[in-house]
Subunit: 117 residues, 2 copies
Amino acid sequence: MTVSDDTAFEIPQVYSRHIFACFTQRPPGHPRGSCGALGAQPLWDRLSKKIEAKGLTEVGFTAAGCLGFCSAGPLMVVYPEGVWYRPQTPEDIDEIFESHLVGGKLVERLVMVLTRG
Amino acid sequence: MTVSDDTAFEIPQVYSRHIFACFTQRPPGHPRGSCGALGAQPLWDRLSKKIEAKGLTEVGFTAAGCLGFCSAGPLMVVYPEGVWYRPQTPEDIDEIFESHLVGGKLVERLVMVLTRG
């Protein structure tokens, strides 16, 4: 990955990877839906607990507000790669954890390629 | 910036830059403090409105929960660079907006170099 402007400096990174997971919960029947309504919370709880249990202190996990693309949830994004995932089961979470966060390999089947507007 | 493992692929990016700003608000006197207690919210409101007014659709702005480093707030992080900023005034926000988000140049005086405990 390259950043092509003057911010492409070497700055010490707080995390090797930083996950932002959408915790937005809209009420049932809300027209936009939400990651929460699509079952996000137990998935994020599982992921954050696995990160902590494994002692992956170089991986950050942060609760996020709405990331957009609400009908495509549950959504999480991993930076610096900018990979968006849509896990739907505990097994999906386990695969993202083992493959991407521990092993550094993308889980292609769970990647969401999103486009704005 | 380089990512040295198998996730270093070319994936279409939703945003050229994605800002996560801490909206945590703990009550006055709370021992951890919070970005909210340090005056974050009007700063983030200003930044998100400027992004929208300028039509910078390639810049994402997402409200975040606690990013850690609570005494160092108000904190925001810009990915993919992984630059953490601590703006304290409306002028700081305007400089981050014009220099980094519009112009692609880091605002060194506002960068926080953080290290994990």
